[in-house]
């Protein structure tokens, strides 16, 4: 619940009489109803403008010309000051404007809670209300009533949106979109187009893998078939040769020797590989470096005999191992120096490394490499033997084939199959290619394609999640839009109902009512059902009062003051009486700028209604340029610069005939 009341203001050096008005009553509470009589020409428009500026902060954007227009005529003041004092609930809030006529600027200061702050800084609770577009609804004149009813203006709808925070739905939608953009900013695609691209990529890769797997299977089967055929053909060939006595023994011998030579070569190669798995065997240079490192570690005493942990524990003790007491300084020093030592586990590892090197590399760095060299020589020898055995076997086969055309044909077929197998082996190897540089259509590397498929599926999953998120965002945005529209419709219905209740009181004999709110207030005559754009001046003002009272005095939510220029001016006498009677029900505080001609049929009904509502009596103030009232004693009212302010009903009522002849402002 926000309750805002005006307790006074002060004006100096401005285009209105200098004055200080206080609406606080004896109890200190702000007056519930105050009537400020300012004859035409005393700066009523200026005062209202400054009030709006103090409530909205909009003077900061005034042009120098607008600022200088407010300078008091006939005086050479460099600056003017306007200070508005209010009560927010029970705390004082003051907004001051300092108008610099030299510079043509306005500077604000705000005093609330913690103290004075430069600038227009209303408390958080009032920030949505103390704005230019809002203030005009509770500091208003007859012009507003017309705007509320004109279709060319959307003030009625706008004030409902602002007051009931329907803009929050749009802000939530905007935040939702921001969140969506944050989430998707780093993802490549957020639209169905991106989804289709990624989906197609996955499908293309799956298709490609399917094709390559089928080819791989075909080539592998073909290779296996050729391999079997070759083996079979070789067996047949060898069998055919063995059936010929003159070659059988030689072929058996050659085959046996070849197998032995192969086994020997494999054994030598295996032995060499095993030996080379020890790095010191690869090169005496590497072995030497390892041995030198180990010896150097010994020389420089690494690892130390004492571990870092010893010193860290020592730093916790009361005294050193030498018996001297330890203080914080020495402890810090010990801890710092402890960092120079290896930890116990590091020490163990380093000792093990050293032991391993000493055990395997030993004193002579070239020992293992010498063994390797011997292995290499044996390997070369075995390879030569294998080659010789191979040639011997082939020689027997060639001779046998030379004697028998059938064997020769079979031998050629074996050669042909061997070539086929070689080609097929090479083909099969292409499917094991791991080179990533080729495109999907150019590579046969199944692992490469499968890895790419996994990546593509991951990206597709990402966008699928993204699209799912988008669908949820759209759904939530739609819910927010529907909620906003439903809330707006419900609020407008309720505002129309309550406004019409107030209109009932104001204009019992008049059937004019608010039908709905579509940008502006739409009026109707329920009996005839005809829509009416606007009523008479009095009807319009009555409708406006009812509407604004419905908005700005909502129990449990907020109570704002009504500051009204000429509240009864446009009304006929009958409606004046009714409006006056309604005012205590309209608002918690009613401050009106009146001119003398408005008093008839307004002041007395207002007094009665206020008394009936338990609101006491209205506060009567009359402000005018000092000297404008002839024969006024110096003790009447308060003189303040060029202004004089008189408080009290008697002066307020009786002076009206004198004051109504003032110049028009």
């Amino acid at each position: 619940m926000i309750s805002l009341r005006v307790i006074g203001w002060e004006a100096r050096g401005l285009r209105c009489p200098d004055h200080t008005v206080q609406f606080s009553e004896g109890s200190g509470d702000a007056a519930r109803v105050a009537l400020l009589q300012m004859p035409n020409g005393t700066g009523k428009t200026t005062t209202l403008r400054l009030l709006r500026a103090a409530l909205s902060g909009d003077a900061a954007s005034w042009t120098p010309k607008q600022v200088r227009e407010l300078k008091k005529r006939g005086r050479d003041d460099d600056e003017g000051v306007f200070r508005l004092s209010m009560l927010l609930d029970d705390a004082r809030l003051t907004v001051s404007l300092r108008l610099d006529f030299e510079e043509g600027t306005v500077s604000y200061s705000t005093t609330y809670g913690d103290g004075k702050q430069e600038g227009f800084k209303p408390p958080q609770a009032l920030r949505r209300i103390m704005r230019p577009e809002f203030v005009n609804f509770f500091v208003f004149d007859g012009e507003l009533a017309n705007h509320l009813l004109k279709p060319s203006h959307t003030k009625a709808e706008g004030v409902i949106r602002d007051l009931f925070r329907l803009d929050l739905f749009d802000k939530l939608t905007a935040r939702l979109n921001e969140h969506w953009e944050d989430l998707t900013a780093k993802k490549g695609a957020t639209e169905p187009k991106g989804f289709n691209r990624r989906f197609n990529k996955v499908q293309d890769l799956k298709k490609r893998i399917g094709e390559v797997e089928a080819e791989f299977e075909r080539v592998t089967e073909e290779r296996d078939r050729v391999k079997s055929a070759l083996l079979e053909q070789k067996n047949k060939f060898d069998k055919a040769i063995l059936e010929r006595e003159q070659y059988a023994a030689r072929l058996s011998k050659a085959t046996g020797e070849l197998e032995q030579a192969r086994a020997a070569a494999d054994g030598e190669a295996s032995r060499l590989l095993t030996r080379l798995r020890s790095p010191h065997a690869v090169s005496p240079v590497l072995a030497g470096e390892m041995a030198t490192l180990t010896a150097s570690l010994d020389r420089v005493k690494l690892p130390e005999s004492t571990a870092k942990e010893f010193f860290e524990e020592l730093a916790e003790e009361a005294e050193c191992v030498c018996g001297r007491p330890l203080n914080e300084e020495t402890r810090r020093h010990i801890r710092e120096r402890a960092k120079r030592y290896l930890g116990a586990e590091e020490m163990n590892l380093l000792n093990t490394l050293k032991a391993e090197v000493k055990a395997h590399v030993g004193g002579s760095a070239g020992d293992e490499r010498a063994k390797v060299n011997a292995d290499v020589e044996r390997l070369k020898q075995s390879l030569r033997s294998r080659k010789q055995a191979q040639q011997d076997k082939e020689e027997v086969e060639r001779e046998a084939a030379g004697d028998d055309p059938k064997l020769d044909a079979a031998r050629r077929q074996i050669a042909n199959l061997e070539q086929q197998l070689l080609d097929l082996d090479n083909q099969v190897r292409r499917y094991e290619d791991r080179d990533e540089s080729r495109g999907d259509k150019d590579t046969l590397g199944l692992d490469v394609l499968r890895t790419r498929l996994a990546r593509a599926e991951k990206k597709l999953a990402e966008i699928t999640r993204t699209l799912d998120l988008k669908e949820r965002r759209d759904r939530l945005a739609s819910i927010l839009e529907t909620a906003r529209d439903k809330a707006a419709a419900g609020i407008k219905r309720e505002v129309v109902r309550q406004t019409n209740e107030r209109i009932d009181e104001l204009m019992k004999q008049n059937a004019l009512r608010v039908k709905n709110i579509r940008g502006c207030l739409v009026l109707e005559h329920p009996e005839s059902g005809s829509v009416q754009q606007e009523g008479s001046v009095g009807e319009n003002l009555s409708v406006a009062y009812a509407f604004l009272a419905t908005l700005f005095n909502r129990s449990g939510e907020h109570e704002l003051p009504f500051i009204v220029d000429s509240p009864a001016g446009p009304l006929d006498h009958q409606k004046r009486t009714k409006v006056a009677g309604l005012i205590p029900k309209l608002t918690s505080q009613f401050l009106a700028f009146v001119i003398s001609t408005e008093q008839a049929d307004f002041v007395e009904p207002l007094e009665k209604a206020l008394a009936k509502a338990g609101g006491g009596k209205p506060l009567y103030l009359t402000l005018f340029h000092d000297g404008r009232v002839p024969d006024l004693g110096a003790t009447v009212g308060t003189r303040d610069g060029d202004g004089r302010l008189v408080t009290g009903r008697e002066f307020f009522v009786n002076i009206r005939d004198v004051l109504k002849d003032e110049e028009v402002d």
């Binding site: 090169s283 590497l286 470096e289 020389r299 420089v300 380093l350 490394l353 290499v376 190897r429």
Partner: protein, 158 residues
Amino acid sequence: MPFYLRPEAHDWFSNLQKSKKPGRGFTLDFDMYYTCLIAGIAAGKRAKLPDDPKLDLSDFPGEYRQNGKLIVAMFLARECKVRGVRLDDRKRLHDTIRDLVSPDSSPWLSPAGMRLMNEYAAGGLDVLIDSSRGQKPQHLEAFLPKFLAQIDQLLNPS
């Protein structure tokens, strides 16, 4: 699995990977890594690793387990030389060891040491490929003597 082998290595060594029979080819995948590492260390050549390298070789398998500490010692000795650490400079030796070695992890290398070793292995593959003018090794029995000769040449350039 802390060791990173460049994917191209599988293709480069494919002929040595066809048979797992002793003497016919590499019987351990780690043989590829080790061969590359020795070449990289001998040439002092490192290669940049991918941002998120796929670490796919287990920690010192088979016979490499018993030689693991020797491999670490070789790497340490070589890196001290590369960094210009004088072996009588106790503090720098101490700092280098602390930088590269860690008793907590199974290959006994710190993250920095592990990364460095993987960079040498990655660089070593380029050394092997460049020296053979792109010709893949065909047979183990031919590859091993050539490899040894190449390492000798790298470590004894004169």
